[in-house]
């Protein structure tokens, strides 16, 4: 192995370098100048994106511990874009919170640590590496969930997050140990999962349950709503798109490369959990009054839809999942962006507080409307195309009953998404949210999200590009 081999990991190395640079900046800044790290971090993240898109490396490192290929790079790029959007959204919140003045750079450092974990998780070629990076992904986020520790709800979210992720890691490790007992290796390439083997099937079930916690698939979703509600909006948006996205991607990789032999088993598991996740997520979302809890249950329902793409185990399905996650990132981050802006300005987070928002903040309401339309899957916006390909993947696998339930659920979801739109545009309010002037970064973030929502569906080469690159795994 020579030095040049390390450049296979150029994305991760660049992120580590970024973390170190930010640490140096943090050390050199005085207490009253801490907010200056915000533009530094935002602009320094752009080269990371560029490096990611220029990255074409293929190969493996450290005895197959680390694998890179175009599909994995594509997954990392999708998530990097999401993190960039999160960074743009948080700037305003970080600046205005008086209690956080000393801890601004910690926010960036922890998110970047988690992102490094995300990148290594996608590139892992060995379950040891997989587990290490999974922990690196979730522990900084648990710290961030308790970022506003002087608020009881935030502290509660932090402790719930760390306990549930410790619990899920325990289940996952048990699954991995069963897989190791059955095959005698932890290396993806050397693992031969056989369809008849009970130990390996049990190992898969536990492994899947552990990952299901991270994706918040029913019946492992109970932590989601409380953590999403208590954590700061920025952390919630990171949790709902990046943590969920990476777990979905890793599940896709592992299902196809490792568990191809026991497809009959995992198809049934995913079939049942997909139905449960969609239905329960939707039914609970209808009852929510708090917008963050509402979006939490909506994200659970979306996770159910994502499972539709995985159930067939085909390349077409994988492409649909990648494509949907990209669109989901744009739409969910747009929704959370609006929630974040409004909460910063007026500290309101109930759905009835959004009554009459259109009168005072027409542009914010339009962005929110597009985001909700996209989440619901209404044709002109990208969410429709994302859902369409997911449904098509399920149809290709011949699962028409599942498809029917999914379509019914899409209709139910339409109802509660439109309730929020109705609140903003039709309902009247004596004291609507006052007019808000958001700062440059938040505005840029919302514009990028809106552009993504509108454009991603229509530019077909994005989909073609993903289709061409999804054959790697």
């Amino acid at each position: 192995m020579s030095w040049s081999d390390f450049f296979l990991m150029q994305q991760e190395l660049a992120l580590i370098l970024l973390a170190l640079v930010l640490l140096v900046v943090e050390i050199s800044l005085d207490t009253e100048n801490k907010h200056k790290i915000i533009p530094v971090a935002n602009f320094l993240f752009i080269p990371i994106l560029v490096i990611g898109f220029l990255n074409t490396s293929t190969g493996s490192l450290f005895g197959d511990m680390y694998i890179t290929d175009p599909t994995r790079i594509l997954m990392k790029n999708i998530l990097n874009v999401g993190v960039f959007l999160v960074f743009l959204q948080v700037s305003n919140w970080l600046k205005t919170q008086a209690n956080n003045r000393n801890r601004i750079s910690e926010f960036y450092l922890l998110i970047i640590s988690s992102l490094i974990g995300v990148n290594y998780l996608i590139s892992a070629g060995n379950f040891l590496m997989f587990y290490l990076s999974l922990e690196l992904t979730s522990i900084p986020i648990a710290a961030l969930a308790a970022y506003e520790q002087y608020k009881h709800k935030s502290a509660e979210a932090g402790i719930k997050m760390i306990l549930s992720s410790a619990f899920s890691s325990g289940i996952l490790l048990f699954g991995l140990s069963l897989l190791y007992a059955g095959t005698g290796t932890l290396n993806y390439g050397a693992m031969a999962i056989a369809s008849v083997d009970l130990i390996q099937s049990m190992g898969f079930i536990f492994f899947f349950s552990g990952l299901a916690f991270k994706i918040s698939i029913v019946p492992f979703h109970l932590w989601t709503a409380d953590v999403y509600e208590g954590a700061p909006v920025a952390v919630t948006s990171y949790l709902s798109v990046i943590s969920k996205g990476v777990a979905v991607f890793v599940l896709a990789i592992v299902l196809i490369t490792l568990f191809g032999e026991i497809q009959g088993l995992w198809q049934e598991v995913i079939y049942v959990t997909a139905i449960l996740t969609m239905t329960i997520g939707n039914l609970f979302a209808i009852r929510q009054k708090n917008i963050k809890r509402f979006l939490a249950f909506s994200s659970i329902a979306q996770a159910g839809f994502i499972l539709l793409g995985l159930v067939g185990g085909s390349n077409f399905g994988t492409t649909a999942v990648l494509y949907f996650v990209l669109i989901y990132i744009f739409s969910n981050l747009a929704a959370f962006g609006v929630v974040s802006v409004i909460q910063n300005a007026s500290d309101k987070e109930n759905i009835y507080d959004y009554n009459g928002l259109y009168k005072t903040n027409p542009r914010l309401s339009l962005v929110m409307m597009l985001a909700l339309f996209s989440l619901a899957g209404i044709p002109p916006v990208a969410g429709f195309f994302g859902k369409f390909f997911l449904f098509a993947a399920a149809a290709e696998a011949g699962m028409y009953v599942l498809l029917l339930i999914a379509v019914l659920n899409a209709i139910i979801s339409l109802y509660y998404y439109l309730l929020v739109v109705k609140a903003m545009f039709i309902n009247s309010n004596d004291q609507p949210v006052p007019k808000i002037e958001s700062d440059f970064f938040a505005r840029a973030g919302l514009i990028l999200c809106t552009a993504g929502i509108i454009i991603t569906g229509f530019i077909s080469w994005i989909y073609e590009y993903m289709l061409n690159n999804s054959f790697g795994i």
Partner: protein, 116 residues
Amino acid sequence: MSTEGLILFFIAGVLMVGGGIIVSNLVAPRSTNAQKLDPYECGIPTIGPSWMQFRVGYYLFAIMFLIFDVETVFIFPWAVVMKQVGMTAFIEILIFFVILGLGLLYAWKKKALRWE
């Protein structure tokens, strides 16, 4: 391994752990005296209740100590193979030191080393 194997594995696991506890309870001789309740090799008997609250500062110091403790553990094997690996090993350990040093500098700047 088949289903029977898995069941046997489970039963054997339960028996090994549970059996050990039960057998040692039945077989082991019992003798109780006052000395047995004294702290063993851990200093003198405590004065007052030991369930008191500690300053959180202790933990900060303990963590800082732990980091550098682990660093030493890492450096020992490095020192053993350093001659064979040569310049590469030297540069790699320098990178490691720089990262650790930055961490220490950060803790220093955050006044984690100050006892107030």
